[in-house]
Amino acid sequence: MRKKALVALGVTVLMMAAGGWTAASAADYPQRPITLICPWGAGGGTDAVSRIIATLLKKELGVPVNVVNRTGGSGAVGHTAMATAKPDGYTIGMPTVEITMMHWMGLTEITYQNLTPVCMVNFDSAAINIRTDAPWATYKDLENYIRANPGQLKDSGTGQGGIWHLAMAGWLKAVGFAPTDIKWIPSKGAAPALQDLMAGGIDMSSCSLPEAATLIDAGKVKPLAVMAPERDPKFPDLPTLKELGIDWTCGAWRGIAAPKGTPAEIVAVLEKAIEKVVKSDEFIKFMQNRGFGIYWLNSTDFAQALAQADKDNGEIMKAAGIAK
């Protein structure tokens, strides 16, 4: 009897404590440690960005921010964990561009609408990278070669239906080529694709400039054009596709989001704190070191960008036959 009474008492106390937390959460958020879900593996780019944000956010908010990697299913596992967490501001996540693509592939039911956007922090543009000893000196040479030999060249950079696949598909569409004029070879990521590029297994990689930077510096890979709105300050001589008369930009981005239904006051607190983080010298220096581009969008702009990207990506993926 006494044991049962004790258990009952314990449960009541716990429930009161939990209730107390929920009630107090919106007003004086944050009170306890925050979990930041990273949908990609430890050691990768998204992991690095989420960790530096977590470290700096801890200083701003005064509570620990713990990065938890939930990897797998091409990002589906982590994004699902973000979307299905309790919307109390104590679990947030770093969604990546894949959130606007995975559901078109039929990998998950989760879309950007299952998340409350907080802000976008980073954007890296796709580029057209070839071997240094390849026979094309300029972008135009490559384009002419593809026109003369459709379906012969092979491109890679990520898995089937991944962001660099989309970059290629959109570029081909903008030029007026058929989606099959370059063969897409799925790979586990940019690093293995670039190795295959050097080994002669593929002819180009439409991965981002920071991903190819080490090999560009080593003189083994050379970029022909970047799919960005304007030139990259690190590669001032590299033309954008726009300058070459092709209306196509594409890149991978990273942001911060909370589960759907997170109170607006909490989102505002997070947005303000992360804006400070992104504008801090430490963050700027870190991103420059890694070659990542800083790109700030607040909650409203991020929400609009997500909706637009989701629509655009869906169209291109359908046109290229990537969507299911």
């Binding site: 593996g41 430890a42 050691g43 990768g44 992991d47 938890v68 990697n69 939930r70 990897t71 797998g72 299913g73 091409s74 589906a76 596992v77 699902t80 592939m105 990998l107 998950t108 092979k154 898995g159 089937q160 239906g161 063969k183 070879i185 799925p186 790979s187 586990k188 690093a191 293995p192 670039l194 190795q195 295959d196 050097m198 080994a199 002669g200 297994g201 593929i202 080490t214 090999l215 080593a218």
Partner: protein
């Protein structure tokens, strides 16, 4: 040169050195406890390395394995039970010498030749890996397909006992890698709509289960050994070792080479290296009749070879991402976790980490002697640690470790299921090693095949178009037909082979360590 200096500065830090010392003690302890293998020790170490930078994490594994493989000799000499399967080849020999009252001498020789063998393996690793990496830079999906085939075939061919059971084990491993999102086409397979299954079976929890939980189950269900041993006479541990080393210096050189190259072969690790070195030792000895009666020559050979194999196993692991033994199979998982993709690119992108691994190898083998002496002195105490406290602790570490990788209980389930699976397999004499290779290489095999087919529009002859690819293909075909050829080539040859295979496939080996 610059990279070497960076690497030295990465290792020579109080924190890293402390990690090395702790993992040395851990390795000695695990190695000296019969039933706990170096592979299991590595699997349990992974969740801890999760919180470290790549250099201390890899240095910890390197040090730990060197210590554990040597420490396996201690219970072998003292109570005639090998601490790890790698010491099984010469356990009778060591024990015979102990009965003559020369336990101190045997262990002194063991620790010395272990350090020399380990050093030889490290030197070959340092010399060979960058050379192979240069070649591997030119490898594309066609070559990797054949490499995966060779790795998987070797793991079955070197296995103990029946070829068929090895093949079954391999297929179990390969099947496990088909769960999850198909890497080339992005199609979810065998997921039953459950999000956790999308990623397939996570590799590290599977390994922790197969080596940790199954080991615990075996220990709990088998007869516990209550070891009562006296202390070793360690006053003049290194007395009389100089003459032994001088006399058998050619044996040491030969076994160092044999051990390293067996280590390089995918699937064959330190234990098989020790068996082969011991068999060769007896074959080429001037006094083969003394073997088995407490003759130090075989111990010198096998003791050198098992430690040499450790460095060798890292060669294919670093260069191709194909594990040389089951420890490096786990190392590959650790590398991926740290964002370091094993393969020729690692030599370009992070050379300082590779140099740090090399230095860690040399350093570990240098400190093997003082730490080894310490272990010899406390060996009899370590054997008295009660099983009923050790096993629950290991099980607890398995669970915590499996959870820590992805912070999900799903992985704990995977770990336990794999543990039970491995236990059932071993109870039926199905070796676990081919399954492990299957889990590690299954995705590489599938991906390289599919990617090659997409590149060539399903033209199978493309696997023989590039010269390197064609050579690797021919080697694979020869490997596949070797059991048939062996059976076809007269009885005498077969009889000889069976004899060596029997020596290699001692039933005490539970897995490749």
């Amino acid at each position: 040169m610059e990279h070497i200096l960076t690497a030295v500065s990465l290792i020579a830090q109080p924190y890293v050195l402390m990690i090395i010392c702790i993992s040395a003690l851990y390795g000695l302890f695990v190695g000296a406890i019969p039933g706990l293998t170096a592979t299991m020790a590595t699997a349990l170490l992974v969740p801890v390395t999760f919180f470290m930078d790549p250099v201390p994490a890899l240095a910890a594994i390197v040090t730990m394995e060197a210590m554990a493989i040597f420490a396996g000799d201690i219970p072998g000499a003292l109570v005639r039970i090998p601490g790890t399967p790698s010491s099984a080849a010469y356990v009778d020999e060591s024990y015979a010498l102990t009965q003559k009252g020369r336990a101190g001498f045997v262990l002194g020789v063991d620790v010395t030749v272990a350090a020399i063998g380990g050093m030889m393996g490290a030197v070959i690793l340092i010399a060979l890996a960058p050379m192979l990496a240069e070649i591997a830079m030119r490898f594309t999906s066609f070559e990797y397909f054949w490499l995966a085939c060779i790795g998987l075939s070797c793991s079955v061919l070197v296995t103990k006992g029946s070829l068929l059971k090895g093949l079954i084990s391999l297929l179990i491993g390969l099947f496990m890698t088909t769960v999850g999102v198909d890497i080339t086409l992005g199609y979810p397979r065998f997921t039953f709509g459950i999000t956790d299954f999308l990623n397939g079976f996570t590799f590290i929890p599977a390994m922790i289960g197969m080596f940790g939980v199954s080991e615990v189950m075996r220990n709990v269900t088998g007869d516990g050994c209550q070891c009562n041993v006296g202390a070793v006479q360690t006053q003049k541990l290194f007395n009389g070792i100089g003459p032994v080393l001088r006399k058998y210096r050619l044996n040491v050189a030969r076994s160092g080479l044999v051990g390293t190259f067996v280590g390089i072969l995918p699937g064959a690790g330190a234990d098989i290296g020790a068996w082969i070195a011991y068999a060769l030792s007896k074959k080429f000895s001037k006094e083969p009749e003394k073997y088995g009666t407490g003759h130090i020559e075989g111990i010198v050979d096998a003791g050198t070879a098992n430690n040499a194999g450790l460095g060798g196993a890292w060669v294919p692991a670093l260069v191709f991402g194909i594990p040389g033994d089951s420890i490096t199979a786990i190392v590959i998982g650790v590398l991926f976790m740290k964002g370091l993709r094993p393969g020729p690119m690692i030599f370009q992108r992070t050379p300082e980490i590779l140099y740090a691994v090399y230095i860690a190898f040399i350093f570990a083998n240098l400190i093997l002697i003082p730490f080894g002496v310490l272990a010899i002195k406390t060996g009899s105490q370590m054997l008295r640690v009660p099983r009923n406290m050790l096993m629950p602790a290991i099980l607890m570490f398995c669970i915590v470790g499996a959870f820590a990788i992805n912070n999900t209980t799903f992985d704990v389930g995977v770990m336990l299921a794999c543990g039970i699976l491995a236990y059932i397999m071993e109870s039926n004499d199905i070796p676990v090693a081919p399954a492990i290779l299957g889990i590690v290489l299954g995705r590489l095999l599938e991906e390289s095949f599919m990617v090659s087919m997409i590149k060539s529009d399903w033209d199978l002859t493309v696997f023989f178009h590039r010269p390197v690819s064609a050579v690797l293909g021919v080697i694979t075909v020869i490997l596949w037909s070797s059991p048939v050829i062996a059976a076809w080539r007269g009885r005498r040859r077969v009889a000889e082979q069976v004899a060596t295979e029997e020596a290699v496939c001692e039933p005490k080996i539970k897995e490749l360590t």
